[in-house]
């Protein structure tokens, strides 16, 4: 019973952490828009934390380059299991318009495993919330 409650709680309390991996700020503003009174994701227990050690879901926006790949990897490694990763925006998915640049590695999935892809340039807040909900399905799959 206790295990079931923990499983339910995982889906009800996803603490997100947002990492700007070289984004143009378009997607970042949309991520933060989710927290405003208009969308208010705290209704679903989502809290925006600044600490990877407290986070359950990592939201990554922007392209990955050689410089910040290490940082992204480090943040991902600091998050305790179970955890989910959501790549947001065209750049996070594949590198977007910057994918041909000499310094760009490509999408987030080149560095860390990604669970959910949220397309858009920038991604709509509704799409981001939908992405988080989809990632929660992964946690629900862990129910004991």
């Amino acid at each position: 019973m206790f295990k079931k409650f923990i499983g339910n709680s995982r889906a009800k309390s996803p603490w997100i952490m947002h990492f700007d991996c070289g984004s143009c700020n378009g997607c970042d503003i949309e991520v933060l828009a989710c927290l405003t009174p208009l969308y208010d994701v705290e209704r679903f227990g989502v809290v925006n934390v600044g600490n990877p050690k407290h986070a359950d879901v990592l939201l990554v926006t922007g392209t990955v380059n050689h410089r910040n790949a290490k940082v992204l990897r480090n943040i991902y490694d600091q998050m305790p299991d179970p955890k989910g990763v959501i790549a947001i925006g065209a750049c996070g998915l594949s590198g977007g318009v910057f994918r041909e640049c000499y310094n760009v590695l490509g999408g987030v999935d080149k560095v860390i495993p990604v669970d959910v892809y949220v397309p858009g340039c920038p991604a709509k807040p509704e799409a981001i919330i939908d992405g988080v909900v989809t990632a929660l399905a992964k946690f629900e799959g862990l129910k004991g």
Partner: protein, 282 residues
């Protein structure tokens, strides 16, 4: 026998009540910010989730200190419910507060270090005020024992109105509300990442959260002593005090520790002084 039952009752009921108050707090805060807010049971979901997470610790001291913090907080609430000595309750509570700081200082992370130093200053700020509140309760009722204070026939609020405000400062600091939320902060707020709690994660963060619920109940229990004669008055007093905390939290900016030390000590000590003189002369 009755004492043991009361202690167990306190230890079992306090976290449930504390969690519900935390949930109500988040909901009301959301409404004050014209948001809808999370469900009432959200703090329980958060803690249950934290207990289900992988254990990641930097060193043994974090685990030890988190547990001591929880045990000290639970024990202080249990002793308060059992009608024990206020000074004993106070010192047990202080052990927990200091061990939380030690847990934060045990890791080399700069955020955790700075947060712990700030927490230490917060402890330094509210402990003398809390002692003054207890001393003034003693001057009115002639006893430090909670069961004897409860036998006093008049509400303490009548004779110690300023001391209640002083206790309000301690409550605001203890609840980590603005303007005093610089060692760590609540809800979605971030201050030096998460201050003293930065390096605690998973189950140990959950333990500290439960300890925090105990401490909330501890301070609110002390508040309740100020109107112990009627149950309605007691509930009314606690509810209005907590709502005032929420208003303060949502209207104030986060200040610095220097400001806190100057402001809280000067105003707090001045108010205690006036109240004690008034008590002595009147």
């Amino acid at each position: 026998m009755k004492t043991i039952i009361l202690i167990i009752l306190g230890i079992v009921i306090a976290p449930v009540l504390g969690g519900l108050i935390a949930g109500l707090d988040r909901r009301l805060t959301a409404r004050l910010q014209s948001r809808f807010g999370p469900p009432l049971l959200q703090p329980f979901y958060d803690v249950a989730k934290l207990f289900g997470k992988e254990k990641v610790v930097s060193n043994f001291w974090q685990v030890f200190c988190a547990w001591i913090y929880l045990i000290a907080a639970a024990l202080s609430v249990g002793l308060l419910f059992a009608g024990s000595d206020l000074l004993l309750v106070f010192f047990v509570q202080a052990i927990g507060a200091v061990f939380l700081v030690m847990g934060g200082l045990s890791t080399p992370s700069p955020y955790s270090q700075v947060g712990s130093q700030r927490e230490l200053i917060q402890v330094l700020t509210y402990e003398p005020l809390l002692i003054l509140v207890f001393a003034s309760i003693f001057m009115v009722t002639g006893s430090f024992r909670v069961d004897e204070i409860l036998a006093y026939e008049q509400p303490l609020l009548v004779q110690l109105p300023l001391m209640f405000i002083v206790l309000g400062y301690a409550l605001t600091i203890k609840l980590r509300k603005s303007p005093f939320d610089f060692s760590t902060s609540h809800h979605g707020h971030q201050e030096i990442v998460k201050g003293i709690l930065t390096e605690f994660s998973g189950p140990y963060l959950g333990i500290i959260e439960i300890g925090h619920w105990y401490e909330t109940i501890f301070i609110l229990g002390i508040c309740a002593l100020f109107w112990h004669t009627s149950l309605v008055g007691c509930v009314l007093l606690i509810a209005s005090t907590y709502f005032a905390e929420l208003i303060i939290d949502n209207t104030m900016a986060r200040m610095t520790w220097r400001w806190m030390l100057k402001y809280v000590w000067s105003i707090g000590l001045a108010m205690s002084f006036v109240n004690l003189i008034w008590l002595y002369a009147g």
